[in-house]
Subunit: 439 residues, 4 copies
Amino acid sequence: MKQKVQPAEGKLGILIPGLGAVATTLIAGVIASRRGLAEPVGSLTQTGHIRIGKRTDNNYPKIKDFVPVAKLEDIVFGGWDVYEDNVYQAASIAKVLDQHLLDSIKDELEQIAPMKAVFDKSYVENLDGHHVKTGETKWDLAQQTIKDIQDFKEKHGLNRIVVLWCGSTEKYFEASEIHETVEAFEAALKANDDRIAPSMIYAYAALVQGIPYVNGAPNLTVDTRALVQLSKDTNTPIAGKDFKTGQTLMKTILAPGLEARSLGVRGWFSTNILGNRDGLVLDKPENFKTKEVSKLGVLEDILRPDLHPELYGDLYHKIRINYYPPHGDNKESWDNIDIFGWLGYPMQIKINFLCRDSILAAPVALDLALFADLAKRAGMKGIQEWLSFYLKSPQTKEGLRPENDIFKQLIKLQNTLRYMMGEELITHLGLDYYEEDEA
Amino acid sequence: MKQKVQPAEGKLGILIPGLGAVATTLIAGVIASRRGLAEPVGSLTQTGHIRIGKRTDNNYPKIKDFVPVAKLEDIVFGGWDVYEDNVYQAASIAKVLDQHLLDSIKDELEQIAPMKAVFDKSYVENLDGHHVKTGETKWDLAQQTIKDIQDFKEKHGLNRIVVLWCGSTEKYFEASEIHETVEAFEAALKANDDRIAPSMIYAYAALVQGIPYVNGAPNLTVDTRALVQLSKDTNTPIAGKDFKTGQTLMKTILAPGLEARSLGVRGWFSTNILGNRDGLVLDKPENFKTKEVSKLGVLEDILRPDLHPELYGDLYHKIRINYYPPHGDNKESWDNIDIFGWLGYPMQIKINFLCRDSILAAPVALDLALFADLAKRAGMKGIQEWLSFYLKSPQTKEGLRPENDIFKQLIKLQNTLRYMMGEELITHLGLDYYEEDEA
Amino acid sequence: MKQKVQPAEGKLGILIPGLGAVATTLIAGVIASRRGLAEPVGSLTQTGHIRIGKRTDNNYPKIKDFVPVAKLEDIVFGGWDVYEDNVYQAASIAKVLDQHLLDSIKDELEQIAPMKAVFDKSYVENLDGHHVKTGETKWDLAQQTIKDIQDFKEKHGLNRIVVLWCGSTEKYFEASEIHETVEAFEAALKANDDRIAPSMIYAYAALVQGIPYVNGAPNLTVDTRALVQLSKDTNTPIAGKDFKTGQTLMKTILAPGLEARSLGVRGWFSTNILGNRDGLVLDKPENFKTKEVSKLGVLEDILRPDLHPELYGDLYHKIRINYYPPHGDNKESWDNIDIFGWLGYPMQIKINFLCRDSILAAPVALDLALFADLAKRAGMKGIQEWLSFYLKSPQTKEGLRPENDIFKQLIKLQNTLRYMMGEELITHLGLDYYEEDEA
Amino acid sequence: MKQKVQPAEGKLGILIPGLGAVATTLIAGVIASRRGLAEPVGSLTQTGHIRIGKRTDNNYPKIKDFVPVAKLEDIVFGGWDVYEDNVYQAASIAKVLDQHLLDSIKDELEQIAPMKAVFDKSYVENLDGHHVKTGETKWDLAQQTIKDIQDFKEKHGLNRIVVLWCGSTEKYFEASEIHETVEAFEAALKANDDRIAPSMIYAYAALVQGIPYVNGAPNLTVDTRALVQLSKDTNTPIAGKDFKTGQTLMKTILAPGLEARSLGVRGWFSTNILGNRDGLVLDKPENFKTKEVSKLGVLEDILRPDLHPELYGDLYHKIRINYYPPHGDNKESWDNIDIFGWLGYPMQIKINFLCRDSILAAPVALDLALFADLAKRAGMKGIQEWLSFYLKSPQTKEGLRPENDIFKQLIKLQNTLRYMMGEELITHLGLDYYEEDEA
């Protein structure tokens, strides 16, 4: 496959619906990294290594030296938002990064001003937007968005583009007949159908042009037959749903460990406190439900109560998110996990994660954008399951159980990269290390 | 390789030096499981499943149905101890299991009385032993132990035996010239050399008869050239060191997750409180050091500061074990982990694990014994690195970096089982699920 | 005042509406203590001491030797419940106490069967009751309850009675004109007014007979002008509201410490998980609100943002209770407290309390019953503010700020006992210890 | 007594041995507060209120308006240190306060340079000092220190002085015959006796001039008959030992709450991690022992196992301090408390305090200095037990049990202030609130 991967020539545009805490942290971080002011920690594409060959070869190149991902220097950021603040202003309001750092790159940050957003308050009741597009129908809004993208590409002389959703969690709803086929979807756009969420309009605008779309929220968006079909038709990769950070990250690390050891789980109580705009949006039950569904599935997929009813059949899983302004973006989670071992004896694990939401999300967003661009150049299209590693609720092929175990996700990611570059896949068998000296 | 694995015919003896909390919990649990009074939770060989074939095949047999491990019904337990209490008495003193459970299987438990132990107080200063062997030299003690094993085999009509160390942590010391070759080791036995620890005498007695030896403590024992050579000479598997339970189990689950995400770690402080005999022994600095060395290596091996100096180069790792009688066997750990992400911003993880030492260790001991016996029947000899999954400080071939990442250890274990049984190894690539429908 | 306190002669009946987890734990514990099977830990009246005189006198009698509280031997228990289980059955279902303990006192426990309860599902939607009184009006129900009490007293040859509410939290509502005067209240009883909660009927039945009433839930009940007046008219003590246990207990211990040191508080997030019937009832928002109001006031009363706006003016206080069946009665709380010190620098306190709801509540219920009986014999009537020590939301005289600081409550309790018995009050000044040797 | 308290006229010098993290945080904070840049949170003298009269009077003046403590504007700081850094430099190294704050008051901070210290490495092995006094004997060093104080007073035109120890914890040792009388002590100074610690030389230099001495470390210093006598002879107040911050602060808040409720305690495990110079000094066992003794006594004094053997007789109390550089001055504690309640049922409390050592200590140091000066003007001399509120191991009169309950300490402090100013003492009886309306 190696010969199929095209090089990362020219500039890559990353266009972001939602220039809030995550997006501005991403943008400021890339700029600071380019200027040598800080390190892009947490990003595999920037700091990760990958093992090639046998363990004894001791060959661990950096991922960015192994696969042709776009360079930070070649990235141009843009986006849309319902507030008209430029990225310097929005980042200052978000209070994630130190103001001194923001001030030191203010010149570049304030150049990036949002385009008018596609907005529909019924999908995000706790937000008010005034910097928004108007149009007769959703079809019109889609056309305006397509034009936004084309203009941006032309203005900045870009070679390629990725659209990266960093906006809010939309209210919960399920796919219906208008999300079945591309034709039905386009008809619904024209009919201004209520069931088309703003995020879907961005996704449509990207995919129809063959531009990869990354879904960083638990929104339905491209997890519909219509938009999956469109992505295949236009040879475009898609990845979603929901950046995997904080508590769910910990959960998909820990649960595989418990399952690996056949330890039973009776209950898992997860609570979160956070005070940023994300917390405010999720204070609305309709929006929390979208997030809850995204977060709840994780344990079942990893623990497989269908295979181990005696270990996980009675698992009681409860998740709470609490809006708590004193913490701002410093999201904090507390988990109580009731496990049991040998002869059913109970034990408990308590995890308190004092994390920072956007600090964890920004490198995930960066990697997803860069890998989606790589996938496009490698001729891959449709759902990119190998990017599940980064996602709370991985979109998978219909009929396929999603894989939430972060370590299986990691092997899949790494073996996919090895496969792309024509290297041997790794199984960790390693019996040869012991047998060779017998000969 | 499949045809090479011999079936598990007849009875398997598990002979245990150290009939304390772990061993009695293991024995009582196996008996209770056989009688249907409780479930052997935490044991892969008893409750684990393994995926065979493609994900879409949905074929996940139980491990015990896939590989020919000995059945619980076919196990006979015996052992040695410095106290003369039978297993019912010792288990009652250990206070791990509910007294009502112990009483309900008292008849069988009190049949198992320890043979006299090989003991040397200079290796475990906080213990006093009086139920001990006497002899002119360590060579004599080894011969007595060999005879113990032969008598036990004959008495119970056993087909095969495994020796499973569940005794105390011995004081810290390093290998010297007497541990270089089998000849030097045997000469030292005869010369009654101080540098031969009691555990080595048991190991020698087992290996010289071709009996697998499992090292459940961080003791040096078979991690010497002499005894590795002996194990190869007699076609015998060995596995060690130190059952992986509690805090280190959590560490080898969590650290791979942090490394997978390229999150930096500045400090990792681990403290433990426990009040059982193990805690008492480790209250002695010389014995704690043996344990500390076993526990400290874990992070370095997983995080690889050599590859990621910017993420893990300054990691400060500190481990404390505190004897705290109010908790008895209910070992509890508290970890504070100082991590950093995007642009170096700090975050913290706190983990409080209210565990039970012997409840976690017993199924590990069982699996190691059963897999060591399986390996013997599969013709495998020397170090069994595929059993690292169960071990805090895995013994590896000289010159090979130990693998502490529990998920790589798990894949190695599973792929080894698949390899033994002639099944295809799993790489988690899975691109075919997506490509097949394109054809 | 000492001569006024009448001795505790004869038998004391404790009649309990709500024979659930708390009540059965109380009853079984008193019986077990009487038989010498266990200790009544957590009860000041049984195990507490009180300092009398100067520090150097070293005179600390037991409270039960200092004031004439009723003896455990003289207590007779009875009660009402919507389920017909006797106390042995109800305690077995509650799963608070070890079944072996319950079995050993089964004979006495199963003698205590509930009388039919006054029940109104609209006040506790998550419960279903079938063992309930019927009557034309609430006035009829009150008369039946009065008769229950009289019959019970006669049957058991009792000298005195206390009614102790251990039932559920009723839905939230506020006092209205029918709760203004005894006359209006009695008219409403006869008119079968919706605004009279079941708990009020029990309270009325007690007070009208001069029987002390203790309100162990956050229900409105006697916190109305009508019933306060009735208690004064009949020379009867009342105490409420809501047994102070678990998280609120911790809060009223910790908050006074922070305030004592002038440390600021920005936020206090409190979450609870519990799986008993109490948790089930509180899963209903209307009932949770009653509890929430009871719990929320605590911080404001202790920290006094009116006096220290710069320290507590912006305090964000949030409380959550989550129904979590795996924990049963083992209620567990987690608090995150954001404090700040010198120059406004932030610090955090996290408290994880693995408590047992009924184990904490039972001795509180016992003390309140015994002290209410003592107060009656001391001629005290109306609100007993000196019992605030035991209560989450102390009922106080109109216009008086409730005192929630547990240490001020304790001094008030102790000085009240000293005052009752004619001993000098304690101020902790103690300068004399230093000055006397100067003379 | 009110007429006896002299007003706070003129300037007050606060002279500090040990210009490290605590002292520089104190000095910078007072300066920042004077300039209106920050608030002196955590200081009772600056932000605390005191209730005067009956609860219904609602009269809560600020403490600084009620008693004549010196104003921040009238304080002049100076001190001694083994390093020659001025306060700006030392504060920058300590990394407690934000560098931007320090820079904004740099002009004033760098004016304060340390005088040469009295130093003896055998008392603090982990420190190296080079900015130290030399002299033939300790008597000479004392005379030099006396002169330092006189010169400082003259240079700055001071009216009064307090000496405030903020230096390191010295190694553990006990008083001997040279600490029995003033004469023996002075003879030992002249004989250059090893048993006179550096801190004692500062204390002697202060007391002999009638200058109050505050002992912020657990050092023996003035807790000897000789220096107590000297303080009485010269009419000088003394206060010590060891600023009460962090874990011990929490312990003396929580333990009184448990004791108040007659809850039993089986074990209390306390661990600390900190990375400042204090942590480095305490990494030496001899110095840790001094601290350990100071910290261990707290529980026994509060819980009184002599009165409640069944509740606290078996309490196992263990304290650990771990040097952990990643946390710097951000000291963090974790406590596990094993309690039991009704019928002996066990429960657990876990407290994780993410504190800042110097942020908690600075206001305590300020209050102690200001109150010691107040006491001097009120004619109080010798041990000031009413300042126990601020101290980990309060010095008390021989034969008197120290009071560690922070709430009793607070009442003692407040009632002492009320007594000084001729106000009525408060007993919290409050029965009159209820009785008055009966008349």
